[in-house]
Symmetry: C2
Subunit: 248 residues, 2 copies
């Protein structure tokens, strides 16, 4: 048994795409979060309603698999569904399909609830999950973890948190971590490879004015290429990730 399904249509615009005309991963993520936000509004749990209750959703992890990234000017169909929850975590799937119903991308995301005043994760209040119709399951759902960075072979780039990186939660938007992680692979790598799958785990929020280092290591497997990533500040790991790629 799973929760209620919600679907929405999105036209992929030119500025959501990289120079190869493929939609960027960070823009695709923004669209998915927008669609789950639309479902929340429909169920009476808009971000404003959550803020009144003193809560905010935070994303802890993305695990995804790509058959083909959406392209500029394509219409995509995004479906989402809460699948289950436990004491601290909520799980939600997303399915992105093309106009013929072919699945292009699927995501599993792990969410938690932040108490806005204490800025701390809290036990999931029943009132904010029940409307989505997904069952309570005592155990944790097994979501694969990112592959470890190969520290010795890792390259690094540095980034400053900018004003436009900050979202309505007053911290760096998740999509920005992804831009820093991918940018550090360089233009040649990014134009010559396509994403096959990935796993991104958010560890700690980042605030305006912080300076981050984006570390990345690349390893060749028999049938694909794997990259591993870490976003860190002087004393803290803020995000880890790994991606699998195929050559163009």
């Amino acid at each position: 048994m799973s929760g209620k399904r919600y679907g929405s249509i999105h036209n992929v615009l030119y500025y959501e795409c990289e120079k190869t005309h493929r939609m960027t991963l960070s823009m695709l993520l923004n669209v998915l979060i927008q669609v789950s936000g639309e479902q929340s509004v429909k169920l009476g749990l808009s971000d404003e309603k959550m803020a009144e209750l003193g809560y905010a959703w935070i994303v802890l992890q993305h695990s995804f698999s790509v058959k083909r990234m959406p392209r500029a000017n394509e219409t995509i169909h995004v479906e989402t569904q809460a699948t289950q929850y436990n004491k601290f975590f909520c799980y939600r799937n997303f399915y992105v399909k093309d106009d013929n119903g072919e699945e292009l991308v699927n995501f599993t995301m792990v969410f938690a609830i932040l108490d806005m005043e204490k800025r701390k994760m809290i036990r999931i209040p029943a009132e904010v999950v029940e409307p989505y119709g997904a069952p309570f399951e005592k155990g944790l759902l097994r979501v694969p973890r990112p592959v470890e960075l190969n520290e010795e072979d890792a390259g690094s780039s540095t980034y400053n948190v900018r004003y436009f990186d900050i979202d309505a939660n007053n911290h760096v938007n998740n999509s920005k971590y992804i831009e820093w992680m991918l940018d550090s692979l360089g233009a040649d790598f990014l134009t010559e490879h396509e994403l096959k799958s990935g796993n991104i785990k958010f560890e700690k929020e980042l605030l305006y004015g912080q300076h981050v280092t984006s570390l990345a290591s690349v390893s060749e497997k028999t049938d694909n290429i794997q990259t591993a990533h870490r976003i860190q500040t002087a004393d803290c790991v803020h995000c880890t990730a790994s991606f699998e790629w195929k050559g163009n």
Copy 2:
């Protein structure tokens, strides 16, 4: 007499807004360019068709005035119309209205045609402007120029051109210059002030891997605040701009 009008509707999404829930100037610009691109497709002059002919549109200047920036979850109506052209320049207006027909923002943009092979501006070919229906007018249209930067009082920030700053024309997208110019004003200024008008003049393209300096000076006038900006590399000015602001 002016050219054919074309209109489109856009729902302002949360990730197109800054933390104040106002749409960002760079995202608004992306939407305007998208809408004029839709008109071009309708008239048989898509970017692909232009590329076949060996041409690309480039934006030389934006001059705009803001009554109120669009807000998250608002539906906006964007209308655009080519107004006139001369030997080298095409002029186009944009009108952004809310659901009640109130004008929120208007833009005048100056475009030119790039010969893709020579990467040089060329005399406007009649075949790529006639479908828009705007008249040829021999003289230049007077578009105000940005106010000069006050070099002595200017603050500066530096930025590296990243992979995701590059668009399908293989150079930095115009919207990125704007993010660099505004970011250099700092979060306090940006949350405490609202844009009233602006003028942005693009001088020279920027390529992947370049390092830019964003200079900004602030001056208080009797009824508003003015900022002046310059994006430069070691040996070249790439963009100048000025904005007028009011306090929140």
